[in-house]
């Protein structure tokens, strides 16, 4: 192969990498900065107890049976307590789609990591509210 054409290619490649050194990198500092999540992001669920009519459509439509309903634990006249098991949930959104009384929504909250598997089962108290205990690392609040 032409020796000088190879030399030309080599220097073209070096030019590319050299110019790349002075460009702004693409990544950001995750725990301190975060990107904006689109509004349709299928993150963790929120269960609005007022609209819920305990019809258990979400339980039936969930492919991995990650929702457990407890009909007799009522807060309003006709609703039920839902237990979301986030170890099984695959965030496919079928439950939100199946719920005709819009009692179930997704939130763009996706960092659900927990220390213990049992904490990942969100009972009625955790599923209906968004705030969680704040998470500090090196003096900065992340959650």
């Amino acid at each position: 192969m032409g020796f000088f054409s190879v030399l030309g290619d080599i220097f073209k490649i070096l030019k590319h990498t050299f110019r790349q050194v002075f460009k702004r990198p693409f990544t950001y500092f995750y725990p301190f900065e975060d990107r904006i999540y689109p509004e349709r992001t299928r993150g963790r669920h929120i269960h609005v107890r007022q609209n819920c009519t305990a019809c258990a459509q979400c339980v039936r439509s969930c492919p991995v049976v990650a929702i457990r309903i407890d009909k007799d634990d009522k807060m309003y006249e006709k609703d039920a307590a839902l237990y979301f098991d986030y170890t099984r949930c695959i965030f496919c959104g079928h439950c939100v789609e199946a719920c005709r009384f819009n009692a179930l929504f997704h939130t763009p909250v996706v960092d659900l990591s927990e220390g213990d598997r049992r904490d990942l089962i969100y009972g009625p108290d955790k599923i209906t509210t968004l705030e969680r205990e704040p998470f500090e690392w090196r003096g900065r609040r992340f959650r």
Partner: protein, 378 residues
């Protein structure tokens, strides 16, 4: 191979935990630096998807299918959806057809970009590995804007699609396409122009089209031999909108070995495939018709299907992806579903393709066939 050669051969396991063997294990018998025998061994990713499909309702089946190959989720879930639509005779509205085609082409583009990075990483070139992955982020943002999840998109359902385009999604798609186009000349220099890349991939893993077909290869590995075998043109699907735009099947004709393809041709072929996908997207975007996104009677019809058999096929990034579905009368889930992945054949082809090559070339040959364990282990 004279017998006394084999007694000095050593067996090296290119095993499941190997850095660049993502979950497949191959036993290579090496003599010195040459591979004498190669024994691929599948089964490390087996999740028995076909048994699981027998316990899922028809609306949930596409979730299992898209997990076969997360990289091309739109393309992976489509065979199941097509098969169910054929059995239930659902009529897909035009808007859904065009949306599906656009998203499938974008998913093909982003899967090729991922493969670029992976192939370069296997060649040890991390700079060029990460640059395509940066461009891929733009199409992932488009997926998330449209369906809410970056990989497990579950966008098509029998009878249409679950989500609709809005102007934010269109903006993201244009950003991804534009980003790919203005970085393409730079990638061509870095990739095809790089002497070390040419040295590593010229004449490696060479096979004729006839041999390729005998092994069952399809998609880019065959198109690189010069045969325009593409399901989008051969069997145009009624539920997709490939006929609305004019494009022709990209093939790579290598002058110095006409009917054959080696790793370099396959890379060139994928450059062309990415360009064709971008072209299709650009032609289809303005032709997006208004109208409903799902067949009205879809939800009712899909709960219980009449007895029947159907074969849904699509041209995935790695080859022909298809699902054969058989349903019993008034059953809620499939009676038997057979998933056929393109990489099933490419992993099998290693048995005859690799002997004779050097040990360092094994990863190049297999990388150029774009392996994805989800397809052969299901």
């Amino acid at each position: 191979m004279s017998p006394n050669i084999l007694d000095e051969a050593i067996d090296v396991w290119f095993g499941p935990q190997h850095v660049s063997a993502h979950g497949w294990a191959t036993k290579l018998t090496l003599v010195g630096d040459y591979i004498v025998k190669c024994d691929p061994n599948a089964g490390y990713f087996h999740r028995s998807a076909e048994k699981v499909l027998e316990y899922r309702t028809f609306r949930q089946g596409s979730l299992v299918m898209e997990r076969m190959c997360m990289l091309e989720a739109f393309l992976a879930e489509y065979p199941y959806v097509a098969a169910v639509e054929k059995i239930a005779e659902l009529e897909v509205p035009d808007r859904a057809k065009v949306m599906r085609t656009i998203m499938m082409e974008l998913s093909r583009l982003h899967s090729i970009q991922f493969w670029w990075g992976q192939f370069n990483a296997e060649l040890g070139f991390f700079t060029m590995a990460l640059w395509p992955w940066v461009d891929r982020e733009y199409s992932l943002d488009a997926f998330e804007e449209l369906t809410g999840s970056r990989h497990t998109v579950s966008f098509s359902t029998p009878g249409g699609t679950r989500f609709d385009f809005n102007e934010k999604v269109l903006k993201q798609i244009n950003r991804a396409v534009k980003r790919f186009e203005d970085r393409l000349p730079k990638f061509r220099d870095m990739q095809m122009g790089s002497p070390t890349f040419r040295a590593r991939t010229k004449g490696i893993g060479q096979y004729t089209a006839k041999q390729g077909l005998k092994w069952g290869l399809s998609g880019p590995p065959i198109k690189a031999c010069g045969i325009p075998m593409d399901l989008r043109k051969d069997a145009p699907d009624s539920n997709l909108a490939y006929n609305l735009c004019d494009w022709e099947v990209p093939i790579t004709e290598n002058p110095d070995h006409p009917g054959e393809s080696d790793a370099l041709d396959r890379m060139e072929q994928r450059f062309k495939e990415a360009e064709t996908s971008v072209e299709i997207i650009k032609q289809l975007l303005p032709q997006l018709p208004e109208g409903p996104i799902i067949d009205a009677k879809a939800r009712a019809k899909v709960n219980r299907l009449p007895a029947g058999e159907a074969y849904g096929r699509v041209e995935g990034t790695r080859g022909i992806t298809s699902l054969w579905l058989k349903t019993q009368d008034k059953a809620q889930s499939a009676y038997r579903a057979k998933i056929r992945g393109p990489c099933f054949a490419s992993y099998y082809a290693l048995k005859d393709l690799v002997p004779g090559a050097k040990f360092a070339d094994f990863i190049v040959i297999f990388g150029s066939l774009d392996p994805y364990p989800g397809w052969w282990d299901r």
